[in-house]
């Protein structure tokens, strides 16, 4: 059977659809959407164990050499920290420690939140190396009078641990990359942001003594408040829906095997998400991990220190240690040595890596540090939801057809104009990505073009031959166009961030399926059509802002960043492709009415 005859769908196929499928379209759509939900909830059971790729071949080849002797330094520094009384003392004390334990050091001073703030940075040079590569060890500090210290939440142990590692690495012979030790104020993430900015895009005449150590290959941020360790939590995420390199997580989970390692469940940003209202009802632990991972991946917004490294294509993971009294097996003194030994070996592995950690796995979800769900499994549920929209669109199209319009000049003119406008906006965004003015201009102008310019065009071109209303055809045409927009938008979102597309599909598909036009209820049809009109990538962005409680501008900035950094297609789609579609859609509405 030929599907297309003379550029249109074959009459036989149309008949087949009309008689065999479309009478049951509602039931089919409900079944398809139910399948989406069932497949999504079942996918954690299809998870597989992670494997080590070519980048992580050196794992478990080296033995930790960090000993109790080095640990004494950590405790000594912790005691010194406790005796500090004010910020000046703290600054002098930190400076002297850096001088003593590092090969190169500097204090990075920057202005933020109406005060001068400090990042302390010590560099251990791998003297045998050419000095063009490095790895970062990051940790927080809290000033002696900060609330965190006063409430005994922080006792300076992580500072002591970092300096003891610095002391140890100074004499290690295996170093082939420099190791940067970064200490930032734990009250905010601003310190890491400013340091990374100054490291990669230095401002002239500022910080002449800022020290660098070549290209940063990977980073580990340590959050540790207590020397007693029973469990470890890994905080991971990635911009643009990509996760940090699986090899980095593999290295950590395999080199620190003595502790139960879990993934971060409740990052502060995902906690704000409106999705929790629904996801909190899930009782299966795997499913909870899965939904959290989807949320994290969909969010694509920095949630911790490790996230800021992603903007510079540096893979970074936060390791948080926890002490749970319910787990008495690990409440012994050797556990700390084992943990620090694990950190040492992780750095050794990172130092030995020849290649920069790169994205060998783009689309996967981790429900556990060593278990992953590949894209092939969970994207099926997404495809089923799309299929439901396709069936409903066919239903309308085959039963009612489109509205009438044949003004080719108008079509060509509007399309050429809108494409040129879209391309100009796209270029503007790339050229002026640091300023938000273009965003205001772009969005303002887009609305103006849609709401004012096109009626004027319509008056110019179509004043003599305006179309006539054609009953339900107007609405079916509108439904089909909206369906195409939603389908294409979801597909493009899925290319870059399938988790986000999956969440969108959960919300949008049932609404789209619910819409039905009738011959008699004109006002109801009008309301539904307005609802459909809202369905555009704008609505996607607004839905994202609502679900994750984010500012619109920061989201659009994120889209531009993701395009510049990772070549994501969402942004060019929005600008170059969506504008012509939406304007064509409006053209047809204008013509019909």
């Amino acid at each position: 059977m030929r599907f297309i005859v003379n550029g249109t769908i074959s009459p036989k196929l149309t008949e087949f659809f009309k008689k065999k499928i479309l009478p049951f379209s509602t039931i089919i759509c409900i079944i398809l959407f139910s399948t989406t939900i069932i497949l999504a909830t079942r996918s954690p059971k299809l998870a597989r164990k992670t494997y080590i790729s070519e980048q992580g071949l050196t794992i478990r080849n080296s033995k930790a050499e960090y000993s109790r002797q080095e640990l004494q330094t950590a405790f000594l520094i912790q005691e010194q920290f406790k005796s500090l009384k004010n910020n000046k003392e703290f600054h002098d004390w930190f400076f002297s420690l850096l001088q003593k334990f590092s090969d190169d050091f500097f204090v990075h001073k920057f202005y933020a939140n109406n005060t001068w703030q400090y990042n302390y940075c010590g560099i251990i040079r791998a003297s045998k190396s050419p000095g063009i590569e490095s790895v970062v060890f990051s940790s927080n500090y809290f000033l002696p009078l900060s609330q965190k210290v006063l409430s005994n939440d922080f006792d300076g142990f992580s500072i002591g641990l970092a300096f003891s590692l610095m002391d140890f690495f100074q004499y290690a012979k295996w170093k082939s990359k420099d190791i940067i030790f970064l200490f930032t104020n734990g009250e905010s993430f601003k310190g890491v942001q400013e340091w990374l900015k100054e490291y990669h895009n230095p401002q002239e005449k500022n910080n002449n003594n800022f020290k660098r150590a070549g290209v940063i290959h990977a980073g580990i941020h340590l959050e540790m408040n207590n020397p007693i360790i029973t469990e470890i939590t890994l905080k991971i995420e990635g911009i643009n829906g990509q996760l940090p390199n699986l090899d980095l997580i593999n290295t950590i989970t395999r080199e620190i095997p003595y502790f139960p390692i879990s993934l971060d469940e409740f990052s502060s940003e995902t906690q704000k998400s409106k999705l929790n209202f629904i996801f909190n009802y899930l009782k299966s632990k795997n499913l909870q991990y899965f939904t959290n991972m989807i949320k994290n991946q969909a969010l694509s917004i920095p949630t911790g220190v490790h996230s800021f490294f992603q903007s510079y294509k540096i893979d970074c993971v936060t390791i948080q240690t926890n002490s749970n009294p319910k787990n008495p097996n690990n409440l012994n003194p050797t556990s700390l040595i084992r943990f620090i030994g694990g950190i040492e070996v992780v750095f050794r592995d990172l130092s030995n890596l020849i290649e920069h950690l790169h994205q060998s796995f783009f689309y996967y979800l981790l429900i556990d540090p060593i278990v992953y769900i590949p894209i092939g499994d969970y994207s099926l549920s997404f495809l089923f939801s799309l299929l439901a929209i396709v069936i409903r669109m066919l239903d309308f199209y085959l039963n009612f057809g489109f509205g009438s319009s044949n003004h080719i000049i108008f079509i060509l003119f509007t399309n050429v104009f809108s494409h040129l406008f879209g391309f100009a906006s796209y270029l503007m965004a790339i050229l002026f990505r640091n300023s938000q003015n273009w965003l205001v201009f772009h969005f303002g102008f887009t609305f103006i073009t849609e709401l004012i310019i096109f009626p004027i065009f319509r008056w110019i071109f179509l004043s003599k031959n305006s179309g006539k209303k054609n009953g339900i055809n107007i609405w079916s045409g509108q439904y089909t166009y909206s369906g195409i927009i939603i389908l294409s938008s979801l597909t493009f979102v899925a290319i870059s961030n399938i988790s986000l597309a999956l969440i969108f599909s959960f919300f949008l598909v049932p609404i789209v399926l619910f819409i039905r036009f009738s011959q008699t209820k004109k006002f109801w049809n009008f309301l539904q059509s307005i609802f459909l009109l809202i369905f555009s990538p704008y609505s996607f962005v607004l839905l994202y802002c609502f679900l994750f409680q984010k500012n619109l501008f920061s989201v659009i900035d994120l889209l531009v960043d993701s395009h510049v950094l990772f070549g994501s297609l969402i942004f060019p789609f929005l600008i170059i492709i969506w504008i012509p579609i939406s304007q064509t859609f409006i053209r047809i509405l204008i013509q019909e009415k």
């Binding site: 590569e133 990669h200 895009n201 044949n406 579609i581």
Partner: protein, 619 residues
Amino acid sequence: MKSFLLLTLFFIFIIITFSSSNSFEDESYSEKLIIQPFSKSQILFNFQFNFEVHHLNKYHDFGFFPNVIAKLMQNHNVFQFKLSLTQGRIKFEECSSIPPITAPPGAELYATFHNQNLIQEKWKFFVNELSGIFCASLNFMDETSTTSIKNFPFENFMATNNTIRSQNSRYSALHREGVCTENLTPWIKLLPCRNVHGLATLLNSEKIYDVDYHSLSVSSVDFKEKMSLSASLVFILNPQKILSQPNWSFSKLFERKLMDSSCSLAKESLVELYLPNYQSEEIKIKPEPTKIINDLNSQSLYLYDLKKSEFPFDLSVKFPSNSENILSEKFPLKTDRITKNLNGIFGVIQTTIENVSPNDLKFIYFEYLPWFIRPFIHTFNISFSNSESNLNMNFNLNLNQNQEFFEIIQMIPNTEYSNPFTIEMQINLPKQTVVTLSYEFEKSFLHFTEYPPDPNHGFEIPSALITLKSTEIHSQKDQQNSSFLFKENLRIYTEGLLIPLPVPDFSMPYNVIAISSTLFALFFGSMMQILFKRQKENQNQNQNQKENENENQKENQNQNEKENQNQNQNQNQNQNQNQKENQKENQKENQKENQKENQNENQNENQNQKKIKRKSKSK
């Protein structure tokens, strides 16, 4: 008779060999070890083995001069060359004395040829042969990574004038070249006593490659009448890290000592130990030196002549407690080279040089970039700033060449898959002033077959070279007393750079192309379908109407034709006969007419030709 013949042959052989071979008097060999404090806790060991041969002959029968080097230079017409293989980097800011031989990490090769004929080919073969001799990947120093250098940075070889040197010279560096024992073994083979006798016995490869900085080099000059070779090994180590104490000895550092004797072929065999000035009671040095010189500025020289020393020779130094190697003198220049604003396509390379010495300095800045890094010359910016004197000047490379501050010596733009970008300039840097050189560049997107096996590692860019003439730092009097013991030009290498180039997704190009193309095809297909469907429908409707009308017309015509056919059959037959007859008659008439016309035309042509001939004759 036989015995007589054998005897004569024997005598002839002896005469030939003695006449052709060099006597050992024409050759000289010396070895020297210089030990000096390098930084706060580091010590520099410099092993120097120097060869010289006079009265070269074409047979290359040398006593101990390395034949392989002599052949190499004469085969490829090389006037001089210098090869260094280095691991690690020197922190110039921290050093209290300059290493006599500085080199960038990896491999560096400089060569000058006797003449300019086929210089690129000579370089290619020379590099390949050298690569085989020293087991290094020097064969990667091809056309794309080789450039010429006008200002000769290795002053001690200076023998020809500048123009010849710049035309005939080639320079290349491999920043990524790994250095290990397989490079040391052929280097040791150059020495006449190998590592069995003499200073080379201390070269325990396990220990040498465990140090902070290690540089092995060979340099040679061919003056046609004489040839010299210098093989040196410099390494910097920290006794505190190795032995957990500042006191050291040969046996502790190298697990070896000089057991039997010095190399008997060496004309002189010296150990020079430079130490900060201590009172003789404070420092303990064993064995007793042959000579002590205390005149040097803040340093003392302890000299050992191994020809006169006792064996086994195990030099050991025991410092007084709380002693430091720090010398008062500051290194004159501070350098920093970084990439900034890097993204997928563009970036900026910025080099900052600060003159921290009390004098104005004049130096040569040399930099070259591989062809796949394309700098924008219009963005080249040189700025001088001094916070004390409020000096702040910016210069553009093209427009405002200010010879007071800088002068471009040469600039070679890069060519794709061919020569690298090269810039060489002289900079006059006032004291306490910072000069910043920056330019934007574009990264090339290579063909997927051109990427190395680890493309995500990035591409290494060689260090920039700053050459400072020795006279620039100190006056001659000062120089004698200076702790900076260099006599040749001082070469400072900046940090190398690692630039990640855009990399294709090697793992799934087909999937990506197929999926994205399908999506785009579906999207645009459906869009076009929607946009033009009405037009087509209308066209189809019009076509159908026209077709229907045509069909009706045709049917009517056919019916009429059928009716007419029956009626007119007889008439048609008659008409056909008449038509045939008429046709035959017409054909005959036409033929006749044509013949006549042709005849007339021919006649006319003949007449014309005759007229032309007549005219030509008359002329």
